[in-house]
Symmetry: C2
Amino acid sequence: MTTIADPSAETDPTALHAIIDALAASAPRMADSAPRDRARALRAVAEALDASVDELITLAHDETGLHLPRLTGEVARTTGQLRLFASELEDGSWLDVIIDTPDPHAQPMPRPDLRRMQVAVGPVVVFAASNFPFAFSVAGGDTASALAAGSPVVLKAHPGHPATSRRTAEIVTEAWEAAGMPAGSFALVEGEQTGVAVVRHPSIAAGAFTGSERGGTALARIAADREVPIPFYAEMGSLNPVFVTPGALAARGDAIADGYVGSFTLGVGQFCTKPGLLFVPRGHGLDERLAAAVRDVAPARMLGSRIASASRQGQAALANVPGSRTIAAVAPDADSGLLGGALLVATDLETLLEHRDALLSECFGPTSVVIEYDGFEEALEAAAALSGTLTATIHAEDHEAAALAPLARLLRDRAGRLVWNGWPTGVAVSRAMHHGGPFPATTHAAHTSVGATAIRRFLRSVVYQDYPAALLPAALQDSNPLGLLRRIDGEFTRRPA
Amino acid sequence: MTTIADPSAETDPTALHAIIDALAASAPRMADSAPRDRARALRAVAEALDASVDELITLAHDETGLHLPRLTGEVARTTGQLRLFASELEDGSWLDVIIDTPDPHAQPMPRPDLRRMQVAVGPVVVFAASNFPFAFSVAGGDTASALAAGSPVVLKAHPGHPATSRRTAEIVTEAWEAAGMPAGSFALVEGEQTGVAVVRHPSIAAGAFTGSERGGTALARIAADREVPIPFYAEMGSLNPVFVTPGALAARGDAIADGYVGSFTLGVGQFCTKPGLLFVPRGHGLDERLAAAVRDVAPARMLGSRIASASRQGQAALANVPGSRTIAAVAPDADSGLLGGALLVATDLETLLEHRDALLSECFGPTSVVIEYDGFEEALEAAAALSGTLTATIHAEDHEAAALAPLARLLRDRAGRLVWNGWPTGVAVSRAMHHGGPFPATTHAAHTSVGATAIRRFLRSVVYQDYPAALLPAALQDSNPLGLLRRIDGEFTRRPA
C-alpha cells in the first residue's frame, strides 16, 4: 500500500561529519550574504518546488496517504511561505535597527554612538514533522525562516515520508546553490540517533522542531544540557479548546456542531490545531447532530501505522474514562492498521477535572471531547484548568462579547492564538500570525513557527559602539543605503543617521 | 570593618509560600495594568530611591566597600534606568503590534483578521549581582524591565549586601504599591536554597540572573529541567578582549596602556566588562608604561572576602602558567582578606592556545593578560580561539579600518558589543545598548540585560483572530487609541486599522 522505504535509515556518521563541517564552513558567508540575495534564492527555491509539484505530491500521497488536492494546497502554502520571507528580507524591518547618537552630556556618563542590529545565529538543525510533508518539513517554515535569517540549515527528515524528503531536499539544494548561496548551507540528514547527534554537535547554534511533546521536550533538554547550551524551539502538543456560549448555541447550534466535526476530523485529525475540547452549555441538545456529522466521516488512512495505532489506543482510553459517554464512534476496517475512524466523547466538568490526565492529553487523530458546562462560572473554571495551547476559540454572539472578557482573559494566558467564531485548523501564513503558545504548546512562548516573525528565532543582537563607517554593515550606515525604517534616538525614521 | 549581617539567611519557607502566592495572584492585574500607569509607578520608584540616596549609598558603602561617588553615580544610573523604561512604556513600540487585515481572496485559503501584540510573561524571579548593589540588584535593570513588561518580580537578594537590599526593597515596594500597583507584585527573598526553590516553583514563568558562569549555568539547567521549562536569562562571565593594531600602538601606545590599566583595575576589576585580554603587536615596548600604571593602583577593598580570595587564587594560577611573565603585581597587605591588588601578566599566542583553560577563563578582579601577537594572521587566529563574550574592542587608526574587516567579522560572531577605540567598562543605558553575547557571556544571545530592549525577555506573543472590538486590547483597536506605530499589512503607520 505504501512505499515507505527504510524509515529507520541513519545518515552515515562519516557523511554526517562532512555535512556538519560544510554547514559550519558556510555560516559566515551565509550570515554576510545580502538580504536581497537570500530573497532571490528563496524565490528560486519556491519556483523550483512549484515546477515539481506533480512529482512531489505523488511521492507524498504515496507515503502519507494525504489527498492530492490537500497536498497541492500544501505545496502552494510552502512556496508562498518562502516568498513571504523573501519579501520580508527586502522590507528589512526584521533587522530591528536601533541607533543612539552620541551624547557627551549624558549622566552619569557620556553616551557613545551605538548602532544595534540583528545577525544570523549560525547553523540551525530543523526537525521535520510527520503531518505536513511540505509546509512543516524539508522546505517548510522553519527552514525558510532560518535560511532567511542567514543561518545555514541541516534538516532532520521525518521517517514518515523519506522519499518526499529526499526529493524535496534535492530540489531545494540545487535551486538554493544555483542562486549563488554557499555550498553546504542546506543539507538533509536522516535517523533518530543522527538527529540527537546533530543537536549535541558543537557547531549547531539553535534547533527547531515540530512534533510530539515527548520528542520536543526530550530534544530541548538535550539542547539545554550541552556544554554550550543552545535555544531549541519546539512546537508540540495542543488541545485547542473551543468554548460555545448559550447565545451562539441558540443562534446556530447545528452549524457549530457541523463546523466542529469538520474541524476535528479534517485531515483525519492530524493537525496540531485540531480542536480537542468543545465546551458547550449543559442541555445543548446537539448529540444527534454531532453523532450524524461524525458518522458521515468515513475512516481514512492516517500518516503511518504507528500514528494510527497510537490514535486507537488514545481513543480506547478516552472511551473508558468513567463518567464519559460516547456520542459517536466510527470503527475502521479492522484489517487495515492505517485507517483512523472518528470518535467523539462527552463528559462534564467534574469528570474532566477528576480525570485530567486522560481528558486533558492530546489525542492525535480524529478524536475530540465535548464537555458540558453549567453556567459561566463553570466555563471559567474549565478555562483556568487548561495548560498552554496553540489556540483557544470562542463561539459567541456579538452582544455577548463584553460579558466574556473574563473568559477571554483566562484564555489569553494559556494560548498563542485567540479565535472568535472560527475554527483553529487552518493557520494563515502572514506577518501577524503567531503559531505558538505556553508550554506544552511550545518550549518558547515568545516565538512562532509560522508567519514572518518566525525569523526571529534564528537571529541574535549585536551593537557597534563608535565604529568607523568602513566597518559598519549597510543596515547601520549613516546614509541608510537599504532604506530601512530605523529607530534613531527613539524616533522611527527612514532618514540618514 | 563591615556590617554584612547574616549573608546566609534563607527566607522562611512559610513566608516564601505566601510571597509566591501573592506574586502569582498579582500577575493578571499587573499584566492588565495600563502601560502609562506602570510608567508612573516606575517614576515614583525612581523618585523614592533618589530621595533616599544618602541613606542607600551609606549602607552600600559599608557592605561592599565601593566608593561613595561611584555609588552615587550607580543610584543615578539605576533611577535613570527606571525612567528609561517609563518613557519606553509611553512610546509603546515594545508592544510590537502587527495587524493583517482580512483577505478573502488569499491563497491557498482566505485570511482572517489577525492582530498580534506582546503581553507579560507572568511572574519573574530576578537574581541580583554582587558587583552593582543598585544597578544590577533589587531595583536594577532586570527588575525594571520585568515590571515594565507587566510581570511581577520576586527578587533574590545577593548575600553581599543584605542591608542595602532590604532597604531598597522597602523603598521600591512602598513607592510601587503607593502608585497603585498590585500588592505583592514585587517582593524580596534571600538565600541560595530559597533562590533554587523559586526557580522550581510552578508559578514562576521566567528568570533573570547576573553573576558567575557556574551559578548562572546551574540555575539555567534547573529552569530547563522543570516539568514546565521556563526561559532563564543569565548574564555571566566574559573576557572582553581588546585588540591593538600596529597603527594605534605607534600613534598612542602610552595612552592605550594607561587606558587599559585604568579599565581593568576600575572598581577593583569587579565589572563583567573588565578587559581580561589585551592583544598587542610583538615588540610593543609598553612593559614599563604598563608596569608603572599598574603600580600606581593601590590595593583596594573588594566586594567580599570570598570574591577577594577567589581573585587571589586566580592571580596565582595565572602567574604560574609556564610561558607567561608578570609585567607588574601589586601585593595587598597580607593582613586583610578583603584587599585586592592588581596583576598584569604577559604571554604569547602559542602559550595562550596551549593553556586555554588557565588563560581563557575569567579572573574576576584587577587582573588581566597581555598577549603579544606576531602579525595580522596571528591576531585572527587569536580571535578565532575566543568563546562568547559581552564585548570585543579594537584600538586602531581610522586608515587601518577597512583592512581590519576580517578581525571585526570574527569578533562579531563572538561578542554582543563591538567597541572601537574605547574601553568596554561603562555600559550606556539607552535604547540601542546590547549587553549580552554568545555563551558563556549569556544563556540567550538574542537578549540584553541592559537598555530598553531588556523588556523583551519578559514578554510573549499573542494574536487575536477575528476578535470583536469589545474584547480587543487598546493596542489592537481600530482607532489606535494609544497612538502606536503599528505594522498594518506590512506598512508601519500610526493610522487607524
